[in-house]
Amino acid sequence: MPKRETEIKFLTEWKEVLTGSFMALACLGLFISFPSKGVAEDLSRLFFFLLVIPALYIKLILKKSFGDFGLTFRVARESLLWLGGMLVSSFLIVYLLIRFTSFKDGYILPDYVLVNFWWFLVYELAFVNFWLFIHESFYRGFIFFTLAEKFGFLAIPVATSFFVIFLLLTKAFSWTMAPYVIISLTGGWLAYKTRSFVYSYLMGLSFIIILDAYLIYISKQI
């Protein structure tokens, strides 16, 4: 096979991975660097760079279905089992963190959710839900499924690495973000096994809510 043809074949087979990676990096870069001021602009920035642009890229540029990128939900027993398994795994990891690290002290929740159940629900179902959905759709849906075609399950740590690296770059890495790192791993495996980031999103949301509830519970016991 001539070298030229080899290059063409490589570029042909890897172009989606390459352009997808470039898009992911570009979106994350813009998400970090795009100047914004205030909550509305911050949320808009998150919404555009981590959700809208990847979606437009998939539909307009790649002309593919969102289902190819994990936006699908088929209730299957195996998928539910994996969901439960990963949820338990996530709790095990966080238990270890609570048990052996200062995670419990470093994990910060807003004051208002500690004192009022309804504000707790608002916080979990509005803010956490919104953030987690975008987070899952970008890291699991866009990055993971872009890479998974070529890298298989190895795409899980790669996607997680994207997340962690950007947390580090933005100096946002803290115990508060630890549960999201955990579900980045467990959710990645769940998405790999179920071919859907919706499962990982549901698992992550359940995990965060239960974890927050538990931490609030134990904080009031002290």
Binding site: E5, I8, K9, L11, T12, K15, T19, F22, M23, A26, C27, L30, F34, S36, K37, A40, E41, S44, R45, F48, F49, V52, I53, L56, Y57, L60, I61
Partner: protein, 1037 residues
């Protein structure tokens, strides 16, 4: 016989001798001789004068008194009435009350007078008719006004209309259903006279207090009625004496007869079951005839007129031999033409010669030289081609027919007259008189050429005959017999002239008379109908009476009191031009908000006030920042006083117009008012100074040897924006002493600070006068920061009298210091932060940091300090300390002025100038590193200033203000200085300008969408560059 003669001569001679022997004084005294040597022939007049002179009677005054007595009869005051309306300016549908105030009646109480009101509704006067017509024709539209049912509308109908309103008093006379169970329909029950309620009223002549006058069955108490002629002052007795009450036409009875039966009740709309339907305390009949009704109210409609005839007795008695006084009527306008009722002559005692103004008519015109009573001019013409026989020549008056061509002959012959000709044209040269010119079909003749000639067969007309008649009559009044001898003499003078006005022959005069006949004196034949007719002339509308209401009363108020005109610096904050506000206040208008106002402003000087000649008003464009000058509700005018020609006075005039409702553009009334405003001149100024110690060290001055006056001026006017602000509101610091000096023509002054006059018990400053204030003053700043001092100077120019008001304002601030670079370029420069744009968007200024500077490594930085306010006096900085030890610069924490041995290792060498106003150092730091520069000093009044403050304003020594001032900056080492990008041009890109104006979030969304699209477009381009999958096109499918 001889003896008899002798005896007669002896006494005569003795008398003569005696006369010559006796002193002459008695005769002179009696006959007015004077001088002892000179005799005058005495006349009775002289004798009379001498006698009255001896009695002390001033003949001139006596004559005046006689003159007054001669006409006193005509000067007496007859009964009068004055009407007033409320409201003065009624509108349609409004309830109007008219009040009558009678005077000069003898009756003890006005309530005893008969007020015969009459109301002419506007609708009663058809189009094309006049309201003062005696008989108003009945047309379809005014048929309702014919209340008495006759064939015309007269004053009686107006009386009935008013009487019904008065007597009815609002009672529902025409209702068709009962009001409640106890009510009956009107006029179905009740007859007051029969039931004994007694609502009739018998009205004696001259008022209700004249019982018995002219009443039936009492012939011994007749009443005598008179009318007053307001022109001549005469009063005439009427040959009848009856009330002027409204007459009820065909129903039985009349008002004032004491009976008021059912038909009358119904006619006058009164309640038959109530003796006082109107509820005013009198019987119905008395109300209907107007007894004591001095007020009348009705619902006004446009065109309504009202009048009243008040019957009562006059202050003057009659000439009849009884106790009677004159029964008279007062009318609102005192208008009644009695001329036609005066009979054949106007009586006047004695005999005089009177000239007739009209044959057989009165009044006569008295005068010695009677004017021609009549002149008659006849026009004749000749058609005889032959010249008339001479003498006298000219024309005759035998031909009196006017030619049939329709032209009238000339009536006023002049030296050169135009004579019309008919027929063929005249033949030039063949005429005996010659023609100066001719123009068909006319030709002109010259008067000095002789007699008129004319061509054959032509007709010349215009020849005149003038006849003048003079008629005189001698009238002799024989008062005792009330008769007069009237002797008439008639003179007729005939003068004949030709066409050119030449008199032909002598005038002839014929005299007839005198023809005398005896006439009855004092005949006055005015009927009741005629007097009633006069009532119509006395109808009034509210606007006739209310002179005040016919014009809008306007008042003008202006502020400020002594406004300043300043044509300079219009629109700038330092402009001293006042904004004048003139406000109009209108009275007696229906709705002030709907008044139209038209304002005009004039400028002038004192001559304009004297002559009231203000020239043309200022155009609207010349009234800077003016509000509207015309329109509805524009009750105030506001404009800036910035007139370039600097008038000394302004005249502001306003015209207010009120329009009548319901009619387009119909002016109801107008009003105008003006006010004159004296302007102050902006050329006069107050200059502010830092008050400094004078060279004597104990008083204040505007300058001294160390600091000249010009250097101490603070807050002067300037073109720079910041300095302009200081000029308008001068920043000053506590304990600072401010000097103020006036420059201008004024000579008398009053300084006030916050409205408190400036006073001082002794002179302690330059230009002081202990007796009165001068053009200079000083005052200390004693209030805390944030306070405002408003200093006002009221001054008068004693020469011109011009008043001047000037004001300067000062704001107490906390003193500050900042460090600024001394380097114009290079060295250290402040960091450019951005730009800011002036409010009008025209100018862009660089915004430079005051704390962050930058310079390149190795350069030399020079700094100085700058104080705020700029006017901070230097002697207040670190005072009483020649070494200035409390003032220091620091470079990187080290004071460069301390000994080298005390400086820390690695300090930055720097140089401070001797008076510690600046510092200079060579930068030693590397790129990205900083130098720190700081400055400290002390603000406090000096000891001498403290002494002055203590001595003159009682400031205790423990109350003085001291403040440590300090500032510090960073100087960053940069590879290159960034300069301010002071792009002063406005944005040129429309889209950019539009986007920049959008709300921030929209702007953000726009940017993020554009970024997203750009990213997607970029990745699409990249993807398109990737190769397509390799396909073997030859491979069969």
């Amino acid at each position: 016989m001889r003896m008899k003669k002798k005896r007669a001569v002896i006494p005569l001679a003795s008398l003569i001798a005696l006369s010559l022997a006796l002193p002459v004084r008695p005769a002179q005294a009696l006959f007015g001789g004077g001088g002892g040597m000179k005799f005058s022939y005495p006349s009775p007049t002289q004798a009379s004068n001498e006698v009255m002179g001896d009695l002390g009677v001033d003949k001139g005054e006596l004559m005046n008194s006689v003159d007054v007595m001669n006409v006193a009869r005509q000067k007496k005051m007859a009964p009068q009435v004055v009407l007033s309306f409320s409201p003065a300016n009624p509108v349609d549908g409004e309830r109007v009350t008219v009040s009558a105030t009678p005077t000069y009646f003898m009756n003890s109480d006005p309530k005893n007078l008969y007020f015969t009101w009459y109301l002419q509704r506007g609708q009663c006067v058809p189009d094309g008719e006049s309201w003062d017509q005696i008989d108003m024709p009945i047309t379809g539209s005014n048929a309702a006004c014919n209340l008495d049912g006759d064939d015309s509308i007269t004053v009686n109908d107006y009386k009935i209309a008013a009487a019904r309103i008065i007597a009815n008093g609002g009672w529902a006379w025409n209702r068709t259903h009962a009001l409640g169970p106890d009510d009956s329909l009107p006029y179905t029950v009740g007859e007051t006279d029969e039931t004994g309620l007694g609502d009739g009223f018998e009205a004696p002549m001259g008022g209700s207090d004249q019982k018995g006058k002219n009443e039936a069955g009492n012939p011994d108490m007749p009443a005598y009625c008179y009318v007053h002629d307001w022109v001549s002052g005469n009063e005439y007795e009427l040959d009848w004496c009856e009330h002027l009450f409204p007459e009820d036409g065909n129903i039985p009875g009349e008002l004032g007869d004491g009976e008021f039966h059912m038909e009358e009740e119904q006619y006058w709309h009164t309640d038959p079951t109530n003796q006082d339907t109107a509820g005013i305390g009198r019987p119905d009949e008395a109300n209907a005839l107007g007894l004591g009704i001095n007020e009348f109210s009705w619902t006004y409609q446009t065109g309504d007129r009202v009048g009243v005839a008040i019957e009562g007795i006059s202050m003057e008695s009659t000439i009849h031999d009884d106790s009677s006084y004159k029964t008279m009527w007062a009318l609102p306008k005192n208008t009644c033409d009695l001329g036609e009722f005066l009979g054949e002559w106007d009586y006047k005692n004695g005999t005089t010669t009177l000239c007739l103004t009209e044959a057989g008519e009165v009044p006569y015109v008295e005068g010695e030289d009677c004017a021609p009573f009549s002149e008659e001019t006849d026009t004749a013409y000749i058609n005889n081609p032959s010249p008339p026989a001479a003498p006298p020549g000219g024309i005759t008056d035998t031909d009196t027919t006017i030619p049939s061509d329709g032209s009238s002959g000339p009536t006023n012959w002049a030296d050169t007259s135009t004579i019309r000709v008919e027929g063929t044209s005249p033949i030039a040269g063949g005429e005996t008189m010659g023609l100066s010119s001719y123009l068909l079909p006319t030709f002109s003749v010259s008067r000095d050429t002789g007699a008129v000639a004319h061509p054959d067969n032509s007709i010349i007309y215009g020849n005149t005959t003038t006849v003048t008649k003079l008629v005189t009559e001698d009238v002799t009044m024989i008062e005792a017999q009330l008769t007069a001898n009237v002797c008439t003499t008639t003179e007729t003078t005939t003068t004949v002239t030709d066409v050119l006005g030449y008199q032909i022959g002598d005038a002839t005069t014929e005299t007839e008379g005198p023809v005398c006949e005896e006439a009855e004196a004092n005949v006055f034949d005015m009927s009741k109908e005629s007097l009633n007719a006069c009532l119509v002339d006395n109808l009034m509308t509210p606007s006739d009476v209310q002179q005040d209401g016919s014009k809008i009363k306007l008042s003008l108020y202006s502020t400020p009191q002594s406004p300043m005109n300043d044509p300079k610096n219009i629109g700038e904050i330092e402009s001293t031009a006042d904004t004048l506000v003139v406000t109009a206040s209108a009275q007696n208008v229906n709705d002030e908000n709907f008044l139209r106002y038209d304002w005009e402003v004039y400028g002038g000087d004192s001559d304009s006030i004297v002559t009231d000649d203000w020239g043309e008003p200022f155009a609207k464009e010349m009234l800077i920042d003016s509000t509207q000058t015309s329109g509805i509700g524009v009750k105030s005018l506001k404009f800036k006083l910035a007139f370039a020609d600097e008038p000394k006075y302004l005249k502001v005039q306003v015209v207010a117009t009120e329009y009548e409702a319901g009619t387009t553009n119909r002016v109801l009334r107008k009003g105008n008012e003006s006010t004159i405003i004296r302007l102050s001149s902006a050329s006069d100024t107050i200059t502010a100074y830092n008050g400094v110690l004078s060279d004597d060290g104990v008083s204040l001055a505007f300058g001294n040897a160390a600091s000249l006056e010009a250097a101490n001026v603070i807050c002067a006017n300037s073109a720079e924006p910041e300095l302009k602000e200081d000029y308008v509101l001068c920043p000053v610091v506590k304990d600072q002493i401010i000097g103020l000096k006036y420059a201008g023509a004024a000579t008398s002054f009053l300084w006030t600070i916050n409205n408190q006059p400036v006073t001082y018990k002794e002179c302690f400053f330059e230009g002081c006068d202990l007796e009165e204030q001068t053009a200079s003053t000083f005052f200390p700043i004693l209030d805390e920061p944030g306070s405002i001092y408003t200093v006002t100077l009221s001054a008068v120019d004693s020469v011109t009298g011009e008043k001047i008001n000037l004001t300067r304002s000062f704001k107490v601030v906390t003193p500050l210091v900042k460090i600024v670079t001394l380097d114009d370029s290079g060295g250290a420069q402040p960091v450019f932060l951005g730009t800011y744009t002036s409010l009008d968007g025209t100018t862009t200024y660089a915004d430079m940091s005051q704390t962050d500077f930058q310079t390149v490594p190795g350069s030399t930085a020079n700094f100085t300090r700058e104080f705020y306010p700029r006017s901070l006096p230097a002697e207040y900085l670190d005072p009483d300390n020649p070494e200035k030890t409390k003032t220091a610069w620091f470079v990187d924490g080290t004071d460069p002025t301390i000994p080298e041995t005390e400086k820390p290792p690695g300090y930055t060498p720097a140089t401070v100038d001797p008076d510690k106003t600046s510092v200079s150092f060579a930068t030693t730091r590397l790129e990205g590193e900083y130098h720190l520069v700081a400055f400290n000093t002390l603000y406090a009044p000096s000891t001498n200033i403290k002494k002055i403050l203590n001595a003159n304003w009682d400031i205790n020594y423990d109350q003085f203000y001291e403040k440590q001032l300090g500032a510090s900056i960073d100087v960053e080492m940069v590879p290159a200085l960034t300069t301010a990008n002071s792009n002063n041009s406005p944005p040129k890109k429309v889209l950019a300008a539009m986007i920049s104006g959008l709300p921030a979030y929209i702007n953000f969304l726009f940017r993020i969408v554009m970024t997203s699209l750009l990213l997607l477009f970029g990745i699409w381009i990249v993807l398109s560059l990737f190769p397509s999958p390799i396909t073997n096109e030859t491979e069969p499918r």
